[in-house]
């Protein structure tokens, strides 16, 4: 038995023994996710236990080094763990911007002290993080942000406003872009800092979206004290940290295009077949077939980019390609889902429509091409970095 086979056998046994029955099977809805944090809520006690045992083992962040609480697994081992979890339909023990976004940035840019201090509580789900990037005046032009940090010796005083802060009202800490040098060119006066959302002067207000309630908030900073030791990376060079982190986020959002049941089946369930065995809406059918071709090709393209990245055959800016195409595809997919659902899918509150799920999901996808950098920003990046067009 190879080492990997041994690892698989051990992992399987451990998961069988430790993954509670309540934590197997698909999530019923998004609110059942485990996010951890100081004020964590759990659907069942089993969900808390599942987070804790996985956190202890570092398997909530399988590839992070063990010295920071991670699982210390190789890429191959991590794939085995993932496939074994899929095998028993295990739910994710912990959803976390700390794991998905901040952690990789800290591993790359953080000091030893920061890594030791911040990473283990992330792995164990003790501290829940949120991201403070966008501002009302600085959406696509992220670097145009105005939140300012005044130097007061050993700390800064931060004033300003963020927007689109996911779960800011429930997060414990924030990783945040602030302007530390108002006189520098706009990309050069920004720093990446961390602070506790319980610090006096921090307030949040949830935003209602066109799809209904949302995890997004407006977040206000009124003379918030931030310790200088919580600066990540170099002073005034926070843009580098932010960019690395955004590429990560982009790949995540792009992957949306890959989700869900085949659209042809969705449509057949709703509309049935005609005498020739074809979907009983010929025009819609043609659009669905084109979509499915694009979805299949995009899925392969994600795989190929992964392989190219691994083989170092491609620029990291390629993430913009996946983000752009994936989010546009996902929007198209939900437009067709609405057409396939017809008037049934237009109901907004009925039990029949599960509280308007199809329509709310459709509307929610419209943000895909805005959040994490708009489609227009991604195209700008591609024109500049991959096509090297002049003036891009």
């Amino acid at each position: 038995m190879t080492d990997l086979e041994t690892f698989r056998a051990e992992t399987r046994a451990w998961l069988e023994a430790n993954c509670p029955a309540e934590c197997r099977g698909p999530l019923e809805n998004d609110e059942d996710r485990v996010w951890g944090g100081r004020n964590a809520t759990f659907k069942t006690p089993a969900h808390r236990r599942w987070m804790e045992v996985m956190g202890e083992r570092g398997w909530t962040a399988p590839e992070w080094p063990t010295e920071y609480g991670g699982g210390g697994l190789s890429r191959e081992q991590a794939k085995v763990l993932a496939s074994e979890m899929r095998r028993i339909d295990a739910q994710s023990p912990l959803s976390s911007f700390g794991i998905w976004m901040l952690g990789p940035a800290l591993l790359q840019f953080g000091t030893e002290e920061q890594k030791t201090r911040f990473l283990p509580p992330i792995v164990r789900g003790e501290i829940r993080w949120c991201q403070g990037y966008s501002e009302p005046g600085a959406g696509s032009d992220l670097a145009g942000l105005q939140t300012r940090a005044e130097d007061r010796g050993d700390h800064w005083i931060v004033n300003g406003q963020k927007v689109w802060t996911s779960y800011a009202d429930q997060a414990d800490w924030i990783f945040c872009l602030v302007r530390t040098d108002p006189d520098a060119p706009k990309h050069l006066g920004i720093s990446f800092v961390l602070f506790d959302m319980a610090t006096p002067g921090v307030t949040t207000r949830p935003i209602t979206l066109i799809s209904g309630k949302s995890p997004f908030c407006e977040t206000f900073f009124d003379n918030v004290r931030v310790e200088k030791e919580n600066l990540v990376g170099t002073l005034n060079r926070g843009w580098d940290v932010a960019k690395a982190l955004l590429a990560h986020e982009r790949t995540m959002i792009g992957a949306m295009g890959d989700m869900g049941r085949p659209m042809g089946q969705v449509a057949v369930d709703s509309l049935g077949l005609d005498d020739s065995g074809r979907l009983d809406e010929p025009m819609l059918r043609a659009k669905i077939a084109e979509l499915e071709i694009d979805v299949a090709a995009f899925r392969l393209s994600m795989e190929r980019v992964g392989d190219q990245v691994k083989a170092k055959q491609v620029s990291p800016a390629i993430a913009s390609m996946l983000k752009y195409y994936g989010s546009e595809l996902n929007k198209r997919r939900h437009e067709l889902a609405m057409a396939a659902g017809g008037s049934d899918a237009l109901e907004w509150e009925s039990d029949r429509s599960r509280g308007g799920t199809p329509a709310r999901e459709w509307l929610r996808t419209k943000a895909n091409s805005i959040e994490g950098g708009t489609s227009e920003v991604q195209l700008n990046i591609l024109a500049k970095h991959l096509l090297q067009l002049p003036g891009a």
């Binding site: 005046g137 979206l209 066109i210 509309l271 659902g341 509150e349 419209k366």
Partner: protein, 373 residues
């Protein structure tokens, strides 16, 4: 006939736009929605519509209406699309009024047309059954029973059905389709309001052994298809006008936003990529407007193949309005996703109007069939 509004039609347009801007701007929709109004529509507003002559726009003058035509109905529908006003206009003033004017008995006309025109009564047409508009496959049945008929079936997407004073139900009889005027309080009629994504109103209607008298029949037994199709064609053209109104209004807001919103140190409308998309959308909207006005004019002229002009208009206006609201949300960026901004409301409304009385695919299929391919 030139493809522009006459002077009288332009005056009507100004009256409708002015009235709605004053009495039913988008805040009116928000107020009904956010207060979870039980009806989802204002009867006071509807009576005011009657007083303005909008509710009876196509109803003959002898029945208290304005005696105008399809173009004028389209003018009102477009105005409603611009302000997203919930009103029983399509169901009552267009579909039901047209069915009754065309095929109703003298008694039926006298009983209902003046009340529709005055905005006192709301009528609803119940056609659709499945998730898509398929009027050629009605399965609701009406069997002869006693002195009349017994109706069984289930209808959906019945506009304003939950506040209807009377329903016009399309049901299959022995040798065709027959239209029935049904009192919603009749035993066996169940009506469930379905709150829609756009906060406009529709209902599901279930008919279980609903007994109606012979005088409930509108027009001839087995002969309802022509009146139904006539009314639906007028309805489709008016919905197309509303699509153009909603799409155009979303576009106007977007162009305004492009002029004022600044990013990267300049107005986002200075970015050529957005300029070209806006110019393309402008072009599409102008073309859709031409198709819609032509369809309405042809309905008034009663020309051959007016139904195809209607399908062109409904399909084109639908696709273009869809593009308009998609571009509107995208160009507004994050704020376009918030409930606080109005663009999302336009997106929702356009989605519903697209589904109503046949989506672009339905109408493309009609075009293809008529073209012999």
């Amino acid at each position: 006939m030139p493809l522009i509004l006459t002077e009288e039609q332009t005056m009507l347009k100004e009256a409708a736009d002015g009235f709605l801007a004053e009495h039913a701007p988008i805040t009116h929709l928000r107020q009904l929605r956010d207060s979870r109004d039980a009806d989802g529509v204002s009867r006071d507003l509807w009576r005011a519509f009657g007083e303005m002559g909008f509710a009876g726009v196509i109803i003959p003058e002898e029945h208290g209406g304005s005696g105008l035509g399809a173009v004028e109905a389209g003018v009102v529908a477009e105005a409603l699309g611009r302000t997203l006003t919930p009103s029983p206009f399509f169901g009552s003033s267009v579909l039901a009024a047209r069915v009754l004017s065309d095929a109703g008995s003298a008694e039926q006309q006298t009983a209902w047309l003046p009340r529709i025109a005055a905005g006192e009564a709301i009528l609803s047409l119940a056609v659709d059954e499945g998730p898509k508009h398929q009027p050629s496959r009605i399965t609701t049945t009406a069997e002869r029973s006693g002195n009349g008929f017994k109706l069984n079936g289930a209808k959906g997407f019945v506009l304003d059905g939950h506040v209807a004073d009377a329903l016009i139900v399309a049901a299959r009889t022995e040798a065709g389709v027959t239209l029935f005027l049904v009192d919603p309080k009749t035993t066996g009629v169940e009506i469930e309001r379905t709150v829609m994504v756009d906060a406009h109103n529709a209902a599901r209607v279930t008919l279980t052994d609903v007994q109606v008298d012979a005088d409930a029949v509108i027009g001839l037994v087995d002969g309802g298809e022509a009146a139904l199709e006539g009314a639906m064609n007028l309805g489709r053209a008016c919905v197309a006008a509303s699509l153009v109104g909603a799409g155009d209004q979303a576009f106007i807001s977007t162009v305004e936003y492009l002029r004022t919103r600044k990013q990267f140190g300049k107005a986002i409308g200075e970015f050529q990529a957005l300029q070209h998309r806006a110019a393309h959308l402008f072009t599409e909207l102008e073309i859709a407007k031409a198709a819609v006005l032509a369809a309405l004019q042809r309905l008034d002229a009663g020309v051959d193949k007016a139904d195809l002009a209607v399908s062109v208009a409904k399909a084109k206006a639908g696709r273009v309005a869809e593009l308009a609201v998609q571009e509107a949300v995208q160009m507004h960026g994050g704020v376009g996703m918030t409930d606080e901004y109005d663009v999302g409301l336009f997106m929702k409304r356009v989605r519903v109007l697209n589904e109503l009385l046949g989506d672009p695919g339905f109408h493309a299929e009609r075009i293809a069939r008529a073209g012999g391919y």
